[in-house]
Amino acid sequence: MSNVISEPASPAATPTRGSPPSPKRRAGQSPGRRQEGRAGLLFLSPWLLGLIGITAFPMLFSLFLSFTNYDVLSSWEFLEFVGFDNYRKIFTTDPIFWKSVRVTLTFGLIAVPLKLAASLGVALLLNKARRGVGLYRSMFYLPSLLGGSVALALVWLAMFNGDGAFNDFLALFGIEGKSWINEPDWALATLIVLSVWQFGAPMVIFLAGLKQVPTELYEAASVDGASKLRQFFHVTLPMLSPVIFFNLVLETIHGFQGFTAAFVISNGTGGPVYATKLYTLLIYDKGFTDFQMGYASALAWIFLAVIGLITVVFFSTGRFWVHYSDGEK
């Protein structure tokens, strides 16, 4: 987006105008150029206002709040600056913090790889031209559209409780089920299954990626006698690695931000016994139940830092396994 604004400085953008503008004119900017710049800004303005008003400003403000005792309800005159107190308390005296960190990491480490595997698997199946493949693609994509909806979480709640449909299904095979969402050792698993089931978005991206793999590579590989499995590991996966990388980063961030399902399924408790206390639930609890918004802001900034760190790690390890077809790394 910012290209539009900076274009006047780039000579490459002007060849259609005939002779390149003299340096003098460029520095002062022609009226037409300036108008274009204004128009660009004008068209950008809704997005810019949104970015500044509802993303950048609230973010920085919450950074400020994380050093205060802000409690949502009191007026500003009661606001006190507490320095790093909130951060210190989080790491030293908050027992739930570490519990929810563990729950969130467990969730991410299991749900994200499973979801990527499922979406890649289904994308491979749907990549072939078959009758009605469009319909199948839409149907597999559908759960993703519902996203973090409350309705879906309620369905899950009804499916995985003691008298739920899932247990009726198990009963067909003579297996006696549990009250999955009410068992501390299983509640998180139901959330993971829900998340994996919503594999539509990465699947669509994988499908697009698969379309980009040149068929000559497969032809060449099969001439060389490579089996389908070998073709998958030596052609498909390397060619797909940029897409896998993209999905990995996106789904990891997405996974950490999961909230609605956990909130609805546990009825806001993060229970039983903290089993579904995702980090986002902890932030919400502190902010809106305990009215410790300053503390909640501090929690949120730690969260941001950790997600940032994980993304940096992904990017720095990416060059070892992500292959771009034009040889760039």
């Binding site: 009191s74 009410n182 305990d290």
Partner: protein, 420 residues
């Protein structure tokens, strides 16, 4: 915020915390915002009562918003934070101290003193239960009592005695084990170990308290004994397994074990009998929590509170007065928010009731009230968080993930932080 400024200017004339209680009732158009939670039945009752008021005061328009309890406090916190707290809103013990001590609520003392809000016919303990540091921060909408609600139909079928007032915990747990033994897959009692009000009553029946001066007033040993009581009850099979209990704890009235027919006894509030009865065909009845009834007190089911930033304090006070003291308004509202606070209204309402379970509620309240002890102060700021802490930590014991000793220790660590 800008809207509140003129009001602040007016208030400044008579000291920030002392609005003009003697001011004239306005004749020009007045618009009030009014916010409450509840089911559809309550929404209609409240709506009707408000209509009665606007009929008598045509210059007053009331903008009403109601919703289910879920999300109510989130929304209230958000709009209050934005400086637009509703002129009048429903609140309960969970939020009262939070909102009052953070100066969101209007001090109603000048109005109760001047008689603009008449509390002379209200039980004294009920009025005091809406006071914080000597200020009347809210007016009780009605009186409510914790009650155990049991399935009379199944217990009669099983040929077992019904629970009654004054049973000890040991007696009711033994009784519960008998129920479980007679009917496999069915249990005698809900496990209330994670329920703050059950714990509070249990403490008070022994002459102890939950809070004093914004601190926990009981000891770690008390809490260990409480957890152990229910561990033993589970060992005797008097209460269901943890997952069954959890489902009821986190659910609504519809998931209570008496309604889902998984246990004979649920630990509830007396005003919930009528609503629970609508969810099951079996005949439900109620009695007091186990232990000496002197542990109980006249509790406010909910309160009416006003916003400190209201521009029409006089009308607000008059409307609250109308809702709690007007006989017609009382009859419209019934006992949905507990027994009416005003004793005259209470008598009138009791005579006019048609719902059998609402009548049972009144009879129960009348029987039990004389046995009550004095009311403690309303729970301090931090209470709603602490309730959740108790719920979560008690569950670590129910699920066998922690010993009562470890859980109690954990509770006290977190309580210190929550009430600090």
């Amino acid at each position: 915020m800008a809207v509140a400024l003129p009001a602040a200017g007016l208030l400044a004339a008579c000291g920030d915390d002392e609005p003009a209680a003697g001011a004239e009732y306005p004749t020009g158009p007045v618009t009030l915002t009014f916010y409450w939670w509840g089911g559809e039945a309550r929404a209609k009752l409240t709506d009707d009562a408000l209509n009665l008021y606007t009929k008598a005061h045509p210059n007053v328009t009331i903008t009403r918003t109601w919703q289910a309890f879920t999300g109510y406090y989130d929304k209230l916190a958000t709009i209050s934070a934005g400086g637009n707290a509703p002129d009048i809103f429903q609140i309960d013990d969970n939020g009262l101290a939070e909102y009052a001590s953070r100066n969101v609520t209007l001090d109603l003392s000048p109005y109760t003193k001047s008689g603009a809000i008449d509390v002379s016919k209200h039980p004294k303990s009920l009025t005091e239960y809406g006071q914080l540091k000597g200020k009347q921060v809210a007016i009780a909408t009605g009186e409510n009592t914790p009650a155990i609600i049991y399935d009379k139909t199944i217990l009669t079928e099983l040929g077992l005695a019904l629970p009654k007032v004054g049973m000890t915990y040991e007696e009711i747990i033994t009784w519960g084990a008998e129920v479980s033994a007679k009917k496999p897959g069915y249990w005698g009692l809900m496990d209330p170990s994670s329920d703050y009000k059950a714990l509070w009553l249990w403490l008070r029946a022994q002459g102890k308290e939950f809070y004093s001066d914004n601190k926990i007033a009981f000891s770690e040993a008390d809490l260990i004994a409480w957890f152990q009581l229910w561990v033993d009850a589970r060992a005797k099979n008097a209460v269901p397994p943890a997952d069954v209990v959890h489902e009821a704890v986190t659910g609504s009235v519809a998931t209570q074990l008496v309604v889902t027919k998984k246990a004979a006894v649920s630990f509830m509030w007396s005003n919930q009998l009528s609503e629970m009865q609508k969810a099951t065909k079996n005949d439900l009845a109620m009695t007091a929590y186990p232990g000496d009834p002197k542990g109980q007190w006249a509790r406010a089911s909910t309160y009416w509170a006003a916003s400190r930033t209201t521009k029409n304090a006089v009308v607000v006070a008059d409307l609250i007065n109308f809702l709690v003291n007007n006989v017609e308004a009382g009859k419209v509202q019934g006992v949905d928010r507990g027994l009416p606070s005003n004793l005259d209204v209470r008598t009138a309402v009791s005579d006019s009731l048609t719902d059998q379970k609402m009548k049972d509620t009144v009879a129960f309240e009348n029987e039990i009230t004389p046995k009550f002890g004095p009311a403690p102060a309303p729970p301090p700021k931090g209470h709603s968080g602490l309730r959740n802490t108790l719920r979560d930590i008690a569950e670590t014991v129910t699920y066998g993930k922690a010993t009562p000793e470890a859980a109690a220790k954990q509770f006290f660590t977190q309580a210190a932080a929550a009430l600090a």
